[in-house]
């Protein structure tokens, strides 16, 4: 059978499951690293997801799970892509128990929709990602997305309390539950979170919510060097203060609201009464340069969350890296990373969690002098060499032709164990084949 025959036979089978209107040719904007996919399907239930995956599994096809298509820059160039499975129709809040501070949502629900729904009850859904009005809950889980709240709440692994997902061979499974404390059964949430759609397609998830502070203020401190900024971070971390967010913003972090372009800024978001906020002022003292409230404050934090998207919008050929490391390594690693980026013809900027030491680095090409593929590759190698092994330097976005010459995930350890997990949940390698891990 020729390719056309495969596609039309497949299309008929999928139409049988989903109906005509939910099986369609893939739109031209859903392209990953130059790879076009023929078909796009939009199931509305976990059962439909399972039925589609069974077909794909039987035919040994490759399925690209997708939500808002905002974070598809991760991973290797797909060696093959037969189907895009979008969670668009798997959306909505399943339950919201405000009294228990828990919520269950379907995977295709937009982050902003959940954030707004709980804000009415003065509660916080602490999952953050750029383009929250498009990005979905499922995508945020799959990419272990995080934002400035990670400083106080931890990553999403710390407050996702239950999951339903469909394995690569089409089994609907769940783990965890609805309650905030639960040790029954294996914690498969941990495996699925950050698995980049390679172990299963998440169909719904339950979360613990946080109470919102009655009021907040953001204290800004600006420094000439990264060393001074990190020294200030240490002061905060060793103080009795426990801020909501503790963010580091480098020079040239364009688009970050009110950021002075030449300074290393530490932004501290605090919540509490007037007396508590006064205490912050007292403890932080003369290092503070500004205090943001209300609209200015909101603008800063939303621009911090949007930083990766903004940098990419400003320059499609920027290379964005997610870096994680032990806190004490931050100063030497960023110092070296900045040097490496500059030496290879990029403008360096970074925004992220100062104490957790999880940041996004942006390497933007100098205007008028586009770096060669070799320069991208060399800059990445130098940054990886500068970061400790106990962490990760993951490519979040880079030009497609560069991707072929790099290892986007870096060097994973214990790959054999990882593969065992993958083979168990997706034996025919249906989900995001070839995109994750070496």
């Amino acid at each position: 059978m020729n390719d056309q025959g495969v596609v039309s036979g497949l299309e008929a089978e999928l139409t049988g499951i989903l109906g005509n209107e939910h099986v369609m040719p893939c739109q031209s904007n859903l392209v990953i690293d130059g790879i076009h996919t023929q078909l796009c399907v939009e199931p509305a239930t976990a059962q439909e997801v399972a039925d589609v995956l069974r077909v794909a599994n039987d035919r040994k096809l490759t399925v690209i799970p997708a939500g808002g298509f905002t974070h598809q820059g991760y991973g290797n160039v797909p060696p093959r892509a037969d189907l895009v499975l979008r969670t668009t129709r798997l959306s909505g809040i399943v339950y919201y128990d405000a009294g228990d501070l828990t919520i269950g949502v379907r995977a295709g629900t937009r982050l902003a929709d959940v954030q707004n729904a709980v804000a009415e009850h003065r509660q916080v859904f602490a999952v953050e990602a750029a383009r929250a009005s498009r990005a979905t809950v499922g995508g945020a889980l799959a990419t272990a997305s995080h934002g400035p709240r990670k400083h106080s709440t931890g990553g999403v692994r710390e407050f996702c309390v239950g999951l339903e997902f469909v394995t690569g061979d089409g089994q609907i499974a769940k783990a965890g539950g609805r309650v905030v404390k639960n040790v029954a059964g294996y914690d498969l949430m941990k495996l699925l979170i950050g698995s980049h759609g390679t172990l299963g397609i998440i169909t719904s998830a339950n979360f613990r919510l946080m109470p919102a502070a009655r009021q907040t203020a953001t204290f800004m401190a600006e420094f000439r060097t990264i060393g001074e900024a990190v020294a200030f971070r240490e002061r905060v971390v060793k103080s009795p203060l426990s801020p909501i967010s503790l963010e580091l913003i480098s020079p040239f972090a364009e688009g970050v609201s009110g950021q002075s372009p030449k300074a290393w800024t530490v932004a501290i978001k605090a919540g509490g009464s007037d007396a508590v906020l006064a205490r912050y002022r007292g403890e932080l003292g003369e290092d503070l340069s500004r205090e943001l409230r209300d609209a200015n404050e909101a603008a800063l934090w939303s621009s911090v969350v949007e930083f990766p998207a903004t940098m990419l919008q400003l320059n499609q050929r920027a290379m964005l890296l997610d870096v994680h490391m032990p806190a004490a390594s931050l100063e030497p690693a960023l110092t070296e990373a900045e040097k490496a980026a500059t030496a290879h013809g990029f403008i360096f900027s970074a925004v992220g969690r100062a104490a957790v030491a999880s940041l996004t680095l942006a390497l933007s090409p100098l205007p008028g002098d586009p770096p060669s593929v070799t320069q991208y590759v060399n800059a990445l190698s130098a940054i990886r060499a500068a970061c400790p092994a106990d962490g990760a330097v993951i490519v979040r976005n880079c030009p497609s032709e560069v991707k072929k010459h790099i290892e986007p995930w870096g060097s994973a350890r214990e790959v054999e164990s990882m593969r065992r997990v993958k083979r168990t949940l997706d034996p025919n390698d249906v989900l995001n084949r070839g995109r994750f891990l070496p």
Binding site: V183, D187, P240, S358, E414
Partner: protein
Amino acid sequence: MSFDEVITQLQGLLGAQHVLHRPEDLMLYEYDASVDKGTPGAVVFPSTTEEVAALVRLAHRAEVSVVPRGAGTGLSGGSISRDRGIVIVFTRMNRILEVDVANRRAVVQPGVVNLDLSAAVARYGLYFAPDPSSQKACTIGGNVAENSGGPHTLAQGVTVNHVTGIEVVLGTGEIARFGGKCIDTCGYDVTGYFTGSEGTLGIVTEITVKLVRKAEAVATLLAIYNTVDEGANSVVEITAEGITPTALEMLDGLTLRTVEEATHAGYPMDSGAVLLVELEGLREEVEEQAALVRGVCMRNGAREVRRAKDETERALLWKGRKNAFAAIGRLAPSYYTQDGVVPRSKIPQTLRYIAEVSKKYGLTIANIFHAGDGNMHPAILFDLRDPDQLKRTVAAGADILAYCVSLGGSITGEHGVGMEKNALMPLLFNETDLDVMHRLHDAFNPGVLNPQKVFPTPRSCRETGSASLPPELRRRP
């Protein structure tokens, strides 16, 4: 291979002094903090990861099972051998390998006692947050296996929130390292997946944990009520108001009177319930929250809210709570503690349901629990020597757990499934859910590690003689 031959090989591997095999020695290892029992075939004390790996490989060759064991304080039979296998005890692997103050991490061996780690890092103003009531004895390896909680995990999170890396001997006998000082690494979060897997995927031989900074101020309040309902409603309102205590514990009248007689913690003998509320943070925050908590409690009918004046008073209030189960032992020859969880908004109706169950079966039930996260610990009092009481006790426990599940809750919040509740897993998970978990089990453990635990059907080729005693039954010492 005969078992005598196994013993000889174990002695060759570890030295004869590190292998127990005489019946009188093995008896000490046949139980945990429940009275579930199972006599091991041998008990061994390795001193290195390589020895643990060699033990697992030997177990494969000999076709006997291996069960890891810390201090034996578990509450679901996780460290009991059901089929006369080899129990590995970590007494000799009890060193704190590294304290990294700059990164706020400690690297420890599995046999390190929970409270010893906090004591060792106290001089830096740091501590290890998970605080099971058994923390003076229980080991961090056991905490990782069971994903242990404790009163202060309400604010700080349970063990999985504090483990960033593990070295582990897989069920296949291979040694692997996942995570490190940084939890975000490249690849799947196997560290998180292994934490709480109850020794059924691998044996943890080294653990990297977070250390947490001590708060500047702490306030410990005792709210005193005439009825259980008033206390339960206060919990609902404290949660809904967005107040975030570091601990929120409730004791009903029966429990608090018993505790008071045993420990003289200062709980008023004539009250119907008490709430123990702890707040931590900045001085200013603690004062404000204390005022809010006091307001909520008084609005809900508290007759008094006391506050510990100093560390001595605070320690006394906590002594009452932490020794509560020991005190309950005074009330009846035996008791059976449940570990169900309900949404916090449903605590009052759950307590009413437990009272109905108590009436229905003619059994006294004492309630003491982590109210702040809805983790109920009803202790059903009975006499083990009376077979009819025993039958009613088991039925009452199952009723309560089924009710918790019907409210969207769970059968276990922190004690683990083990051999106690494995038959109840289908209340929460359907066949497909369990099948997926089985597949993931088999990927790391072909069967030799801790068989017949967690999953409802016996998965080992060997079968035990009987289902043994119902779990968590405690006799008076």
